[in-house]
């Protein structure tokens, strides 16, 4: 037997992992370029061989906004938007983070199964796949955001300086939430494809408990805290506050949302890492 040089930085030890696996986030850092390449691939491929291309990123939220405007702004019923914000901009501001969230969930929960040939053949931190899927949604978000700016100009809505820190923060909260849920769903999906069937139902249900078409202020005071257990409620309220000045801004309920969101992300990371070792065998 030849002697092995110990403590060599490039030495890799492969052995069965037991108990809770270390998160090993450094690995993600080493493979950061792969994350960018995966995002770039997702974006490049997403609208290939479509007639309208990236216009879909605008068509979807705008059409949804128009339908909501018809239904909830007097066409069928009248929803109260606080502070007299015009309904189109009120719903569109919520549709942006909501669309980001739903797209992220849809793409990310399938990210492992649709890249199974990569998983069974090459090593790379599997976290790269759901991460890239979630982040790729930001491009659609950015495109749709341009329309929001147009709406704000049209309705003469000027945000105050808070928007500079608040908007990125709430966007981050949306991404953290989406990634947390996506980690759970994608890892479960490797073994149980039930996720594919449960997901449309899940997002629909989630939509109703998120103040997209209505204002969170309709929820009575004593239920506010329970309501904020849904981090997306915090995100949507935050977006409306940052961009339109609606509501009271960050309060205790927001911190509940943040707490839940971080909890889902951390538990999702551990669950994902724990399942990761059998991905190649069970996918």
């Amino acid at each position: 037997m030849t002697e092995l040089v110990k403590h060599d930085p490039t030495t890799i030890y492969i052995k069965p992992s037991t108990g809770l696996t270390a998160l090993n986030l450094r690995d993600i850092w080493v493979y950061r370029e792969l994350v960018f390449f995966m995002i770039w691939r997702d974006i490049k491929v997403r609208y290939k061989q479509t007639l309208l291309g990236a216009a879909w990123a605008v068509i979807q939220p705008v059409m949804t906004m128009l339908v909501f405007n018809f239904i909830f702004n007097g066409g069928i019923t009248k929803v109260d938007t606080d502070s007299n914000i015009p309904y189109p901009i009120f719903s569109y501001t919520a549709l942006l983070p909501w669309g980001l969230f739903v797209t992220a969930l849809n793409q990310a929960s399938r990210s492992l199964t649709s890249n199974h040939n990569m998983i069974t053949k090459v090593y790379f931190p599997r976290l790269v796949l759901p991460m890239a899927s979630v982040l790729a949604g930001l491009v659609d978000f950015a495109i749709a955001f341009v329309i929001l700016i147009g709406l704000m100009v049209y309705y003469n809505v000027t945000p105050d300086w808070n928007v500079l820190w608040a908007l990125p923060s709430f966007l981050l909260l949306a991404i953290v939430t989406a990634l947390g849920v996506a980690l759970w769903l994608s890892a479960i999906n490797v073994k149980y494809r039930d996720v594919n069937y449960a997901l449309p139902f899940l997002t629909q249900f989630w939509f109703f408990i998120t103040p997209v078409v209505y204002s969170a202020s309709v929820i009575s005071e004593k239920w506010q805290l329970v309501y904020s257990l849904n981090p997306m409620a915090g995100v949507v309220n935050g977006f409306r506050w940052a961009l339109l000045g609606a509501g009271n801004g960050p309060d205790a309920a927001l911190w509940v949302s943040v707490g839940i969101s971080v909890l889902v992300l951390v538990s999702g990371l551990y669950y994902f890492r724990n399942m990761e070792r059998t991905f190649a065998d069970t996918i």
Binding site: V5, Y13, S17, L34
Partner: protein
């Protein structure tokens, strides 16, 4: 010298058919039930003795207690039959899957050519896929950029580099895919069966590239069914069988060991029911025999006598287009003959549709055909372009004795696998 790879008591266990026993359909519902009943089973297991890891049914050890190490800069061949654990070993080494037991210590980056073209997206152009694939294989962007021209030149697809790869021919696709992988320059390169793809010219290039890698002092693990490639490219090889490491030695020794192990003595190979893969149905091989002129089953034949290859099999439901044949190759894996029982037009008309039943396909090889040496018989039963029912290229080894053959008055080895009795005519012109 330091070890680039050290494998110690490595074991990898897979569940087989577990879905049938534990979770009927592998559904979430069953798991929820399982979770609820888990504490009860756990309590019960405290009183009952748990079966040992080895004894649990529905598990197989794809790798079992494998220990070896590879010195830096060495090329190690890995040989074994299908299901011997070769691919599992490579998967563990390249960290695609985790071992169940044991440890592996790897010094340096492992580049795997388990299957080239991983992560290729049909909609992306050749150029884009090079970057994508390189990143997946663990290359830095700057590294890919610096090697880009080299990769393109190696792949010979310069003109189509900005065309989506879905428009590529399969040959172009493979060349590009291999080119990226070949330029990865890892400290340890793991190669599995890539040589089975591409045209002869390209295969030559691939082998050359692998040789370069070895010459640069990097470690290569090379898995192949092609014994001549193993002999040519490796100095040492290990033989795996049913997850166990049977032997390790100089390549020639290992190849001989592999080729002569597992075959029946005395010129006959009989298949047990559990050796036949399920997708062979309705074809069921029974035995392959080699007979001499007198009809005796032998493993050494005289080159001056004709010999008979007999394949006995059952067909369990009527088949059309079936052809049963053999491969004959040298021990180095170079083919000499491939022949099927319905090659002849008349035979084809008569037997292209076969009823279920018990058959023997018999072929007589003429006398004065082979040179001295050891040869390998393989079997193929297939419908052309439809389905390959059964195939094993290394079934039966046999020896050829040339006493009495033309030219044996000179005690010298003659080159080439065949030694036909040829008509010479000597004319004195003046």
């Amino acid at each position: 010298m330091t070890a680039a790879i050290r494998v110690e008591n490595l074991g990898k266990r897979y569940r087989i058919g577990a879905a049938q026993t534990k979770f009927k359909y592998g559904m979430l519902r069953d798991v929820l039930v399982d979770m609820v009943t888990a504490p009860i089973r756990w309590a019960r297991s405290l009183t009952n003795k748990q079966p040992l890891l080895e004894d649990q049914p529905n598990y197989i050890w794809a790798l079992n207690d494998v220990t070896f190490d590879v010195e830096e800069g060495k090329v190690l061949g890995i040989v074994g039959r299908n299901g011997a654990g070769k691919s599992t070993l490579l998967k563990v080494l390249s960290r695609v899957t985790e071992p169940t037991r044991g440890t592996v210590t790897v010094r340096g980056r492992v580049g795997s050519l388990l299957e080239v073209g991983t992560g290729f997206h049909p909609e992306l152009t050749g150029r884009e896929n090079i970057y994508m694939n390189g990143a997946i294989l663990g290359m830095k962007r700057a590294e890919i950029e610096s090697k880009f021209d080299e990769i393109v030149a190696f792949s010979e697809v310069e003109q189509f580099i900005d065309t989506p790869v879905k428009r590529y021919s399969s040959g172009m696709y493979l060349r590009l895919a291999f080119a990226v992988a070949a330029h990865l320059e890892p400290e340890i390169l793991v190669v599995d069966e890539v040589l089975a793809v591409g045209d002869a010219e390209f295969q030559k290039k691939c082998l050359g590239k692998m040789g370069d890698v070895a010459q640069q002092g990097r470690t290569v693990l090379f898995v192949s069914h092609n014994m001549s490639a193993i002999l040519r490219l490796t100095e040492e090889a290990i033989v795996l069988d049913k997850g166990k490491l049977l032997m390790r030695g100089p390549s020639q020794q290992a190849v001989d060991y592999y080729l002569s192990s597992g075959q029946a003595q005395a010129g006959e190979r009989i298949w047990d029911a559990d050796e036949i893969p399920p997708n062979a149905a309705p074809f069921r091989p029974i035995s392959l025999r080699l007979k001499d002129q007198k009809g005796k089953v032998v493993d050494t034949v005289r080159s001056i006598e004709p010999l008979t290859v007999e394949m006995e099999y059952r067909i369990e439901s009527p088949l059309t287009g079936l052809r049963v044949g053999f491969y004959l190759s040298t021990m180095r894996g170079e083919y000499i003959i491939t022949s099927f029982d319905t090659d002849d037009g008349k035979q084809y008309e008569k037997f292209s549709a076969r009823d279920s039943g018990h058959y023997i396909s018999r072929c007589i090889l003429p006398a004065d055909l082979f040179n001295e040496g050891r040869y390998m018989l393989g079997v193929n039963a297939s419908s052309f372009g439809v389905h390959r029912y059964f195939m094993d290229e290394n079934v039966l080894a046999f020896n050829v004795d040339i006493s009495g053959a033309p030219g044996t008055q000179w005690a010298e080895p003659r080159q080439g696998p065949i030694r036909p009795r040829l008509d010479w005519n000597i004319e004195k012109v003046e």
